[in-house]
């Protein structure tokens, strides 16, 4: 079959559409190919739920190709993180509290994908309620990277990064050409960097959050994973929309948006946010050296009060999470508890005891940790010390960014401080170490700005390294254009089949 000629892991959406238009293979054959890849890669635990592909949808897409009128994502399979609602599919957020919950409507981003002709048939693993940086905090086990895969349940396996671990692994292992994830502090860019693919965090409000289970309302965005910047752009363009009716934080994408001048590209390195890996620093420096040869202006700037990036983020995110997840009490939302422990006097369990039992039994440890801490951060007298101060620091970062957007088109920084680590190594890390994994990605969330991670090198340990490019608000198109230039020069997907071991090619 001709589709088997695709080389792992690059799947060009435009090339596939061209092939389908020319009749080299059918929509059914294309989707069968990806289903085969899913079956080969089950050991990576990237998928939580899978639905049979609708024959009607396949036929409709094929008909559109036959009529030479395909839409942007006609017949292309796209995976969805399991905290984004898909009609008639399970939505667990990798939490026992939502076990068995089936959505009766599509999130706006999913509806937009369907309008673009995409085929949605599986949902991906994640950290419970998107809370985690390693991708292994889910109630149903973690997804692991296809890189240096050692076999199922092996502690030497490499973490995919979180929280959108399954969506990243699905693309990196060739189960689909693109997927959706969500970001609160770097949950798309970090796993993209650690699995060697492209990950986009759009401007806050550009992609609707309607139908996306909220973690932290002022930080959450829907992001895209893809094996190339071009694919990433196609998917982003399909999901963005002004969703005024459903999402109060939705905004239209303006016609006048930031775009750099070709002969006068100005970038700033956020130089005081250091990496702890020499490999990461070396790869980053190689990109900077290259940009200088291309007559790009490169300056160093220092983020003020950088020691508070992670604490400020944690305080804001956890405080908002505390409020958002309060509804999962087994009464308003969430799995009901079996009432076996009734009070002797009234034969009725006390409400607070019911809440406590529900949450204790159904929430994982990390979610509980964040909810309890978040409760404290906004509690009486402590709000002014923690929550208010964190928001003052957040505004300082926003002011710093806005001031520097007058001088620069992009900020550059490695996506992660280190290359991906093994499960074994992560078990020796403290929770604080895990929180600091997001150090380099958090600023784009706190400031609401768009950022992209692209793979730039495979390090000596045979693991990928990502470069992060941050742009001013609504600078996505500028970001794609600039990222493509770097991708063209530092394309790590050349001759990688010798390096990557997946269940499908090991």
């Amino acid at each position: 079959m001709i589709v088997s000629e695709f080389k792992y892991p690059i799947f060009s959406i435009n090339a596939m559409k061209k092939d389908l238009l020319e009749g080299k293979y059918t929509v059914q054959q294309l989707n069968d190919y990806f289903v085969e890849n899913i079956n080969k890669n089950k050991a990576l635990h990237a998928i939580l739920h899978i639905n049979p592909i609708s024959p009607e949808q396949i036929n409709e897409s094929q008909q559109r190709y036959n009529n030479k009128q395909p839409r942007a994502l006609e017949g292309i399979p796209i995976a969805i993180k399991d905290n984004i609602l898909v009609k008639d599919m399970y939505n667990t957020c990798a939490s026992k509290v939502l076990e068995g919950f089936v959505s009766n409507y599509d999130a706006t981003v999913v509806e937009n994908l369907r309008k673009a002709g995409a085929i949605i048939f599986f949902k991906t693993n994640l950290d419970e309620f998107a809370m985690g940086s390693y991708g292994n905090n889910g109630a149903y086990g973690g997804a692991v990277s296809p890189w240096k895969f050692k076999g199922e349940n092996n502690n030497e396996n490499i973490l995919a990064g979180g929280s959108s671990s399954g969506s990243a692994v699905a693309v990196a292992s060739g189960m689909c050409p693109a997927s959706l994830g969500t970001e609160t502090g770097g949950s798309v860019r970090l796993p993209a960097a650690w699995t060697g693919i492209v990950g986009l965090k759009p401007t806050y409000g550009v992609c609707s959050r309607y139908g996306v289970v909220t973690y932290a309302s002022s930080l959450d965005v829907v992001g895209t994973f893809a094996s190339s910047v071009e694919n990433c752009e196609i998917v982003w363009d399909s999901i963005k929309s002004y969703d005024k009716e459903n999402d109060a934080t939705s905004v239209p994408f303006p016609e006048n948006h930031p775009m750099y001048q070709e002969n006068n590209i100005r970038v700033a390195i956020l130089s005081n946010i250091k990496s702890s890996s020499a490999c990461v620093e070396k790869a980053f420096d190689e990109v900077i050296d290259y940009l200088k040869t291309q007559h790009v202006l490169v300056d160093n700037i220092e983020v003020p009060e950088s020691e508070y990036i992670v604490p400020a983020y944690c305080i804001i995110a956890w405080s908002e999470a505390m409020s958002n997840l309060m509804r999962f009490d087994g009464i308003r939302y969430g799995k009901e508890l079996e009432l076996t422990d009734k009070s002797e006097d009234t034969n009725v369990i006390k409400l607070n005891d019911y809440y406590k039992k529900t949450r204790t039994e159904h929430f994982g440890k990390e979610v509980l940790r964040r909810l309890i801490a978040g409760t404290m951060f906004v509690s009486h007298k402590y709000k002014e010390i923690f929550f208010d101060q964190a928001n003052i620091v957040r505004q300082k970062y926003i002011d710093f960014f806005e001031e520097n957007w007058k001088k620069y088109d992009f900020f550059l920084i490695p996506t992660a401080s280190t290359e991906a680590i093994s499960i074994e190594k992560s078990q020796n890390n403290s929770k604080t170490d895990e929180y600091y994994t997001d150090l380099k990605t958090i600023l784009a969330n706190l400031t609401g700005t768009p950022a992209i991670s692209i793979p730039i090198k495979v390090c000596d340990h045979q693991l990928p390294i990502g470069l992060q490019i941050i742009a001013p608000a609504f600078g996505e198109k500028s970001l794609f254009k600039f990222a493509k230039k770097i991708e063209e020069k530092f394309n790590v997907f050349k001759n990688l089949e010798d390096v990557i071991k997946t269940p499908s090619n090991k």
């Binding site: 609602l85 939505n91 139908g211 289970v213 309302s217 002022s218 109060a248 934080t249 905004v251 009060e305 020691e307 508070y308 992670v310 604490p311 400020a312 305080i315 405080s319 908002e320 409020s323 958002n324 309060m326 509804r327 009490d329 308003r332 409400l351 607070n352 809440y355 406590k356 949450r359 204790t360 509980l368 940790r369 909810l371 309890i372 801490a373 409760t375 404290m376 951060f377 906004v378 509690s379 009486h380 007298k381 402590y382 709000k383 010390i385 923690f386 929550f387 101060q389 964190a390 928001n391 003052i392 957040r394 505004q395 926003i398 806005e402 403290s430 604080t432 929180y435 609401g448 608000a473």
Partner: protein, 90 residues
Amino acid sequence: MENKENSIETVLELAKINYKDNFDLQESLHIADIFKNRYEKNLSMPKEKAFTKFWWMEKNIREDIVKDQLLDLTNTRKTGDFVKCPTQVI
């Protein structure tokens, strides 16, 4: 700034109301300590400088999202009620 009754440890323990008993909060305390130190170093800024919304948004999202969510533990202990849950569709 704080006495034994409202130390971080005590407030964090109180925050466990409606959550799990016997839960190790040391990691959460570490993040809290980093910020508490900042406060005690008198690096605080005027409250009106705090983030409320992004410049490209009409509505004050900070107000909308958070105003109904602030939790006074004292009141909670007295009444056993939760704060109002914001409208959200899942």
